[in-house]
């Protein structure tokens, strides 16, 4: 066990992670195959063009939407919502996570309630949120906050709780105060977990928002789909879906790289042992 962890972390150290560069060609094979199948199928009219428009018409629509600024506007609206909602979520979940991590006894009071809330899908709360906050931005922000809250909270608690007590002892033996031990030992130790929580929370936020925009919004990518559905424009729907996929993957990848940069050591002890 020791040897593998040590060599794994050493390998991660020596082999810099560059996503996609080595698998770029191989990674493109499958999407290109899908694209090819799609193209051929449309040309041969294997299905109704309304069910799935040809790649050409989707491409044309995409260009139109970019040209008239609609696509970018919707991307901007959705992204901004996620940004504010996610920020607000972190502002509440991070401190609470640190507190619960440091004082597990407090957990006795809140754990049951939190577990219950965790299992309620944020979208199920949407009708209630709409009632309380109206159809405006507030209800969208609320849903994002709810979606991101638990991954961030739970991973933060976990990161703080799992801190190697041996390192804390080192802090004590060197005369560090409890505050210093928190700031200089527990928090750095918890950082990888916290970043994982943030990354998960961001993904959940995005998904919850799109769901909310599908149901009750007048702007954003989810709304774009909803509107296109009403106008029977499945080409616009496909454009929106593809955009969401790329956007989500891009943001996640950027976050992942940020995390790699901040925490190259991945949470072992001073010598690859736990």
């Amino acid at each position: 066990m020791e040897k593998t962890q040590q060599s794994a972390s050493a390998e991660a150290e020596r082999r810099p992670f560059v996503p996609g560069s080595s698998g770029l060609l191989e990674g493109l094979l499958f999407p290109l195959a899908i694209l090819g199948f799609w193209w051929i199928g449309s040309s041969l009219e294997l299905w109704n063009a309304f069910l799935l428009p040809s790649p050409a018409s989707v491409g044309k629509t995409a260009v139109t939407l970019v040209r008239n600024g609609d696509l970018l506007r919707h991307i901007g609206t959705s992204s901004l919502r996620v940004f504010w909602g996610f920020a607000l979520s972190c502002l509440t979940a991070l401190p609470l996570g640190v507190l619960l991590g440091l004082r597990p006894r407090l957990g006795r009071f809140v754990n049951g309630t939190l577990e219950f809330l965790r299992h309620v899908p944020p979208l199920a709360l949407l009708p209630l949120l709409l009632l309380w906050f109206g159809i405006g931005e507030a209800s969208k922000t609320a849903i994002i906050v709810l979606a991101a809250f638990f991954p961030v909270l739970l991973n933060t608690v976990d990161g703080i709780r799992r801190c190697d007590e041996n390192l804390i002892e080192v802090g004590i033996s060197l005369g560090l105060s409890e505050r210093e031990r928190l700031r200089r030992i527990r928090l750095p130790w918890a950082l990888p977990s916290i970043l994982t929580g943030l990354r998960l929370g961001l993904g959940y936020s995005w998904r919850a928002l799109i769901g909310a925009e599908l149901i009750a919004a007048s702007s954003g990518l989810g709304y774009l789909i909803h509107d296109a559905q009403g106008l029977s424009r499945s080409d616009i729907i496909v454009v929106a879906i593809v955009t969401m996929g790329f956007l989500g993957a891009l943001v996640d990848d950027l976050f992942f790289r940020l995390a790699q940069h901040l925490v190259p050591w991945k949470g072992g002890d001073g010598h690859g042992r736990h």
Binding site: S9, N166, V170, G175, W265, G268, D269, G270
Partner: protein, 215 residues
């Protein structure tokens, strides 16, 4: 301090460091040490226990951050790294260095606060015998060079004979024997002068000599 596993030597050391509280009795420290407080007593653990997110140099400077100005910290860190022969590894991370080096960094971290007493809890137990031998010599040299008191806990009789100016043998939480060794270091414990010392120490630990057990 020498003794079998479970003889109480680690517990005693941790009590001295303030990492454990005594259930009865008191620990009295010389006035010079209690005045200076925590920083007068340093502790080196069995494992290196380095902060994995810091480089070797940053680990050595760990206790100094916030207590001294940057220039002094840099100077002291450099001095300690030089003392322990680790300048080349200043920017390495703990997962990039060997066990022996990590343990030296840990020692450097303890020495950074310039403690008067250095408590060492079987610090070389996890290392191979060659590295252990080298580090023993380095500790002996450090002891010679500085005015510090080293309190070294081990279960290895040879290690105690090689390093100790005074050996206190613990058995089941009590002092079983106490002997002084005036021989110069580094010592070759294979020499004949060590035979009576070794026998005495073993008797204190085991209760009777190994030969006696066979009779």
């Amino acid at each position: 301090m020498l003794g079998r596993s479970g003889s109480g030597k680690t517990t005693l050391l941790r009590l001295l460091a303030g990492l454990e509280k005594p259930t009865e009795g008191r620990i009295l420290l010389p006035e010079a040490i209690s005045v200076r407080g925590r920083s007068a007593v340093g502790f080196v653990f069995q494992e290196p226990r380095l902060m994995p997110w810091l480089t070797a140099g940053e680990n050595v400077a760990f206790a100094l951050e916030g207590r001294l100005d940057k220039a002094t910290i840099a100077a002291r860190t450099a001095a300690i790294l030089a003392l322990l022969g680790l300048e080349a590894f200043r920017d390495a991370y703990p997962d990039q260095i060997s066990g022996g080096m990590a343990q030296r960094i840990a020692l450097g971290r303890t020495l950074a606060l310039d403690p008067e007493v250095v408590l060492m809890d079987e610090p070389f137990g996890a290392l191979d015998s060659f590295t252990r031998r080298r580090l023993q010599d380095e500790i002996a040299a450090l002891h010679q060079r500085t005015a510090k008191t080293f309190l070294f806990v081990t279960h290895d009789v040879e290690e105690a004979l090689a390093l100790g100016e005074t050996i206190v043998v613990l058995d089941a939480g009590r002092i079983a024997d106490h002997l002084d060794i005036a021989l110069p270091r580094p010592r070759e414990t294979g020499c004949s002068e060590f035979l009576p010392l070794r026998r005495r120490v073993l008797e204190a630990i085991v209760g009777k000599t190994p030969l006696a057990e066979h009779r």
